[in-house]
Amino acid sequence: MALDYSKKVMDHFINPRNVGEIPDADGVGEAGNPKCGDIMKIYLKVNPDTKVIDDVKFKTFGCASAIASSSMATEMIKGRTVEDAWNLTNSAVAEALDGLPPIKMHCSVLAEEAIHEALNDYRAKHGMEIIPVEHHED
């Protein structure tokens, strides 16, 4: 079936931002599983003084909307504090991409989850309280 993606989705798919890994990352998070066809891994570099996310990278296995969601989500949390970044929602990511096809909404959920995982990894390493998260099967 042909899916009609928005221009923004296609732009972030063809030229994804923030691809890669951060070897000495302060926080790493992963979401999804190979069975459903999407895995997202997020790396964070956080400024120790300001708690601002100075750098963020991702690696994603998945369809165009998964790659575009990762790219957009990383752009959206870059420059925000770890506290503030937590508030990024999947719907904000989808909205920033000018929408995702309904069957692809889980890709934006995956981005939110991967970021939460990375933030919790950072929090755990820095003596902060871990925030409980819901896990989605898909």
């Binding site: 691809v19 066809g37 999407d38 690696k59 369809c63």
Partner: protein, 394 residues
């Protein structure tokens, strides 16, 4: 550059076929069921097409029934046969896990609505059904065996003749979905022990919206479409005359070039397959090899990448292909065919199918071999699955 490598999805109607069809839209428009002499021309056109299709299959023209599609032919064969078999108390259907949805969803319907017991036979890693498995599945309740002639996703050609012989021995009708096979292989329904066979015109450079069911004389499944007395009272609906004429013409043209096409396609297929294996590490060919594979089918899985991304990257380069990944479908499950071959989910999600045909040139094969390695490598670079895979190999 426009590089169409999805001939299994559909083919363009050839100019010769279109030319043959044209008079039957505006000029010779009479309803074949009418009595006046003007309509005789419409009737004659349909009977000519019936002869063309029958001759291609070594069947009698009276055994060919035109339908609206290959899917309709599949529906008719399964539903019509199982409904008729109820009279004799038979309610068992044997088919395979790798059939097209036209068969699988019809079988599911028959199970749900008619209480039919369905056996879905497994396949081996290359996609072959075992004749022994068919034999073991047969019971005294078996009303029909339906095994596809060749698989649309991975191109594996099934041992149809042997399965047909087995069914004859047990006096069970044997149906085969030959929607893909009929476009590439010489089919002789008599020599191959086939009782029912489904076909579609648009897979063989004919028009969309027309198919056919071959029904061996003596078989009388219930009708599927009810209404008028068309198709010798077996398939109601005013005939799609232009479509039927196009089908007959396409089938006849195909027979004249079958061997030549097969040789050319197989050579290009094998060049593309070996080119991909040489240029892309950790690429896995799905399906059978050589003469047991449709001459136009190439199906690979690339560990670490997802099929839809490959399709979109290829599309950006002008190449049209297909995938068994869930991401290109309505569901989240990858191809049932690739899973039946034993592929892991991530490998099924990473599948890519090229199907070559009359639009294909040697330059296009070179072009794919030039751009594909880069596309796969770039997407692998951004994949955590590829990273894990490479670490596990080290």
């Amino acid at each position: 550059m426009f590089v169409y490598l999805d001939h299994t999805a559909t083919t363009p109607t050839s100019p010769e076929v279109m030319k043959a069809m044209m008079p039957y839209f505006g000029e010779i428009f009479g309803n074949p069921s009418s009595v006046y002499s003007f309509s005789r021309k419409s009737r004659e056109a349909i009977e000519k097409a019936r002869n063309q299709v029958a001759a291609s299959l070594n069947a009698d023209p009276s055994e060919i029934f035109f339908t609206g599609s290959g899917t309709e032919a599949d529906n008719w064969a399964l539903k019509g046969t199982l409904e008729k078999a109820k009279i004799s108390g038979k309610n068992h259907l044997i088919t395979t896990k790798i059939e097209h949805h036209a068969i699988l969803h019809t079988a599911e319907y028959l199970h749900k609505v008619e209480g039919v017991d369905v056996t879905y036979l497994p396949v081996n890693s290359e996609g072959f059904v075992s004749v022994e498995d068919v034999k073991n599945a047969i019971t005294d309740k078996t009303a029909l065996v339906s095994v596809m002639f060749a698989n649309n996703e991975v191109g594996t050609i099934e041992p149809v003749k042997e399965i047909g012989a087995l069914c004859r021995e047990h006096k069970i009708p044997f149906h085969t979905d030959a929607v893909q096979a009929a476009a590439h292989l010489k089919i002789d329904v008599k020599a191959m022990n086939i009782d029912m066979l489904s076909m579609s015109a648009h897979k063989m450079y004919g028009p969309k919206g027309v198919g056919a069911l071959y029904l061996r004389r003596g078989l009388h499944p219930e009708n599927f479409i009810h209404g008028g007395a068309q198709e010798h009272k077996h398939r109601a609906s005013t005939e799609n005359i232009a479509g039927i004429v196009g089908f007959g013409e396409a089938m006849e043209i195909l027979q004249g070039r079958l061997e030549e096409d097969k040789a050319l396609n197989s050579a290009r297929r094998d060049r593309l397959i070996s080119g991909i294996l040489e240029r892309i590490p950790h690429a896995k060919l799905n399906g059978a090899t050589g003469d047991n594979r449709l001459p136009n089918n190439i199906n690979f899985s690339f560990i670490g990448v997802e099929g839809e991304t490959l399709l979109l990257d290829l599309d950006a380069k002008g190449i049209s292909a297909s995938t068994g990944s869930a991401c290109s479908s309505e569901s989240l499950d990858p191809s049932h065919v690739l899973l039946a071959l034993g592929l892991k989910h991530e490998m099924a999600h990473g599948s890519l199918r090229f199907t070559i045909g009359r639009l294909t040139t040697d330059e296009q094969i070179d072009y794919v071999l030039e751009v594909l390695p880069e596309i796969v490598s770039r997407r692998r670079e951004m994949s955590p699955l590829w990273e894990d895979y490479i670490k596990s190999q080290a």
